[in-house]
């Protein structure tokens, strides 16, 4: 008597066995990956104590940030049209192909982290990359991100957050496409169905849809008006990266991830608060260079990065003290970088720098055991 899942499982096992027999190792790995994705590890049993294990597995763990991103994706589609989806698709297809190739060649398992990497990478891109002539840029960025991750040994061993690596690569290689052109998003107060019925703001409104700068870019450029608080908070009419312009939705997603413990407040909240306080402090000294705390937090993808990029478990410290230091470091670096260079993308670089320090932070913040000095019985 075998149920349906068992029969499917049997089938997967048989084919896997066959592939192994024919020495098609690469294919066997991919097939195994598919099986693991479908059965989610429910078939694997604990060999030794503990015999029951937490229900959380890598699928659900990595699924949580994806769930937190769903509102962002919907909002982005509304604001920037279906070209948003094109950006996501290009990212996933190219990212998937590159990763699977590596898995097949290097014979390691396919990991769920890829899905998150692609999502975070895509949502941090400017919407104008959705133009068909720019798609290849998206592809190059994600390919580079994954190649660099694999150079370090694949998921779990990478020093730099892959989504951020890809983004940094694009910022340095394609500065114009990445920082100059923005769309003014569809406005729910005036545009009705907005992006749900359009390909992009450009196809709907033509040249009017092109915006000059993101809020932070506007702050750094004395010729541009700085958007008001309403725009900043609600994201209505706010030109920004695909997913970074919706502080309310980011807070919602962040709260969900904090609740599920998938991210730690010691990184995310500490980074946000540090940025706010430090920027506010410097604002008193040099108001033209440093925005006030609230503006610093709400602009330039800080919330997005604090909740979704900085908290990437692989590239942030594990220890509690390490997390504190990491969060503070990121906040300070971001504020200083932005203010002193006038370059709006410093969140990205501060995370890269922070990633570099992560192994060091872990090493120097090993917690002290709750135990007395060792004794030996002999």
């Amino acid at each position: 008597m075998m149920g349906f899942p068992e029969r499917v499982y049997e089938f997967f096992e048989r084919v896997h066995h066959r592939l192994k027999e024919q020495k098609r190792e690469g294919l066997a790995i991919l097939w195994e990956g598919l099986k693991d994705a479908i059965f989610g590890g429910s078939d694997k049993a604990a060999r030794q104590a503990p015999y029951i294990r937490d229900a959380i597995g890598m699928q659900r763990y990595m699924g949580t940030p994806l769930i937190a991103c769903i509102p962002l994706v919907i909002a982005a589609i509304y604001c920037y049209g279906w070209s948003t989806l094109a950006i996501l698709l290009v990212t996933y297809v190219v990212g998937g192909i590159v990763e699977l190739t590596f898995c097949a060649i290097r014979r390691h398992e396919i990991t769920e982290g890829l899905l998150v990497t692609c999502m975070l990478y895509a949502l941090a891109l400017p919407p104008t990359l959705g133009r068909v002539e720019n798609w290849w840029i998206i592809a190059v960025g994600i390919a580079v991100a994954i190649v660099i991750k694999e150079i370090f040994g694949g998921s779990g061993y990478n020093i730099f957050n892959p989504a951020i690596t890809g983004r940094a690569f694009l910022l340095l290689t394609f500065p114009r496409e990445m920082t100059v052109y923005w769309y003014t998003p569809f406005n729910p107060l005036t545009d009705g169905l907005g992006g749900f019925v359009h390909w992009s703001p450009e196809t709907a409104k033509g040249i009017d849809a092109i915006a000059k700068a993101t809020p932070l870019g506007a702050f750094n450029d004395p010729n541009l008006p700085v958007p008001d608080l309403f725009t900043l908070v609600t994201g209505i009419g706010r030109a920004d990266s695909l997913g970074a312009g919706f502080p309310l939705l980011l807070l919602l997603g962040g709260a969900y991830m904090l609740y599920t413990r998938v991210i730690d407040w010691r990184v995310s909240i500490v980074m946000i608060v540090t940025t706010g306080l430090f920027s506010q402090f410097l604002h008193f000294i040099a108001p033209t260079r440093f925005p006030d705390g609230l503006f610093a937090v709400l602009s330039g993808g800080l919330l997005f990065a604090a909740f979704l990029n900085a908290t990437d478990p692989v590239t942030s410290p594990m220890t509690r003290r390490g997390k504190w230091i990491f969060g503070i470091m990121l906040g300070v670096l971001t504020v200083l970088g932005r203010g002193l260079t006038g370059y709006a993308e410093w969140v990205t670089f501060s995370i890269l720098i922070g990633n570099l320090f992560t192994p060091l932070l872990d090493r120097f913040t090993i917690p002290k055991a709750y135990a007395g000095p060792a004794i030996s019985r002999r």
Partner: protein, 478 residues
């Protein structure tokens, strides 16, 4: 009155849900006498003892069948026949908990259950001296209990009664499926209180600290009323978080004392005993019965009818599980699901330190198990919605995930009750870098298993750490 109510807990740990097949609130029932008892000559904290009987000898229930001379380097406690009958076999068998070959005496029951009670002064126990009580407890085999033994003049723990300052009573059960000792507390409350007094007296009237789960207000009230006039007793209410019942964690929570790495609670002048030990002490001193019977839970998701039982030590678990398994493929575990050991054969006996026999359903392939809200799943994270009114959490041996490289999520650090760095410890131990692991306090690990429980990458951290600890101990003794 020194009885005070304070809600205490420790950092780290995990609140387990109630898993399927937990005999919560089931009254203790008497298991039938086994037809055959397998009594290992190493029980509890005690070292292996030499047999005093030969094949063919007739023994009575409670008769001492194995004993060593007192040796402070190798604390030991006598072992008793747990049923009356004939000694059928004396042979080396792998010990169910660590697999080391250990002498075991197999007794075939004669169905009589004729007892041999302890020889003891029949005074009221309050008039007995600490030495006399220590002798009775030693003879009764009570002293091998707990994770560190109970010190008497007969070298039954690393430490002597004179050096002990605190008796800590562990009356909190936080492990999944361990229900029997809780039940014992309800049903034998008088014996428990008197047993506690006996143990205290045997240690020379030390201070007593009781750690009680806060979810037992009735017991708490009763204890307060009973012990109101004693200034030697403090009752602490504790949050039911695993592993609160562990010696090191309990002592730290109640008394703020740190157990040395690689040491026992006796090294910091404490003794920890649980409810079963208190009851056994009472039965030994007042009723003259050696410690041959204990309470256990027969539980788990693969068990048809979970029960709390009084069973003879040495009862083969096949007698407890026969006709009671609901799944064709079940994993049988002696002791805890978090730190115990699974058994290939059902021919292994209940030991003195076995609070439960657990049978879990084996892992079954499921389609897309991670989709869905997961109302019946227990998790340290909030990723699944655990509904309190859906009473039982699913319990199988499934890893619930594929094995991956460490994603450095830090959950293992968050749950570790000893504030260790399990991810790094596991990594070192897996690569045989034991000296590095020792530098980051390997020996402070109490092997609670939580780090491996929560790991979303399903890394066998406990397995790796145990291997490292074994290697470290071998290096010391080599």
């Amino acid at each position: 009155m020194a009885v005070l109510g304070s809600l205490k807990t420790f950092k780290g740990g995990h609140y387990f849900g109630l898993f399927e097949g937990t005999p919560r609130g089931k009254r203790l029932s008497q298991a039938p006498l086994p037809k055959r008892a397998i009594v290992f000559l190493r029980q509890g904290f005690s070292a292996e003892v030499a047999p005093l009987v030969q094949v063919g000898d007739r023994v009575k229930t409670g008769q001492i069948i194995g004993k060593n001379d007192p040796n402070p380097q190798k604390p030991s406690t006598p072992v008793h026949a747990t049923i009356s009958g004939r000694v059928a076999k004396i042979e080396k068998l792998p010990h169910p908990l660590d697999g080391r070959p250990t002498l075991a005496v197999t007794i075939e029951s004669d169905g009589q259950d004729a007892w041999q009670l302890l020889e003891r002064p029949t005074l009221n126990y309050e008039r007995l001296s600490a030495e006399e009580l220590g002798k009775i407890l030693y003879d009764a085999g009570v002293t091998s209990g707990g994770q560190a033994g109970f010190p008497t003049a007969f070298a039954t723990a690393y430490g002597t009664p004179e050096r002990i300052r605190y008796l800590v009573i562990n009356a909190i059960e936080t492990e999944p499926y361990f229900e029997a000792t809780d039940q014992l507390l309800y049903e034998e409350f008088d014996k428990f209180v008197n047993g506690m007094k006996i143990l205290r007296q045997a240690l020379g009237n030390v201070q007593v600290h009781i750690g009680l789960g806060y979810n037992k207000p009735r017991i708490y009230e009763e204890l307060i009323t009973r012990l109101e006039y004693y200034d030697w007793c403090t009752v602490h209410q504790l949050l039911p978080k695993y592993p609160q019942g562990d010696d090191a964690v309990l002592v730290r929570t109640l008394l703020d004392l740190l157990v040395p790495q690689g040491g026992y609670v006796t090294d910091i002048q404490c003794v920890v005993q649980d409810v079963q030990q208190c009851v056994a002490a009472y039965e030994a001193v007042v009723e003259g019965k050696p410690f041959v019977e204990r309470v256990i839970s027969v539980a788990g998701s693969a068990v048809k009818e979970p029960k709390n039982l009084r069973v003879r030590i040495g009862t083969p678990i096949s007698e407890l599980l026969d006709n009671n398994l609901s799944a064709a493929r079940a994993r049988v575990i002696l002791g805890s699901v978090l730190r115990g050991r699974d058994q290939q054969s059902l021919d292994v006996p209940v030991l003195k330190e076995t609070p439960a026999v657990i049978a879990l359903k084996e892992a079954q392939p499921e389609l897309m198990p991670v989709a869905g809200p997961g109302f019946d799943r227990d998790s340290f994270t909030g990723a699944y919605i655990s509904l309190p009114w859906l009473k039982f959490k699913r319990a199988t041996t499934s890893l619930n995930g594929n094995q991956r490289a460490c994603v450095r999520c830090g959950y293992c650090l968050d749950v570790c009750p000893q504030n260790l760095f399990p991810a790094m410890l596991g990594e070192y131990c897996a690569h045989d870098l034991v000296s590095n692991a020792l530098e980051i306090d390997l020996m402070a690990c109490i092997e609670c298993g939580l780090c491996a429980y929560v790991c979303p990458s399903k890394i066998p951290l406990l397995e790796q750490i145990r291997k490292g600890k074994r290697q470290a101990l071998e290096e010391v003794s080599a």
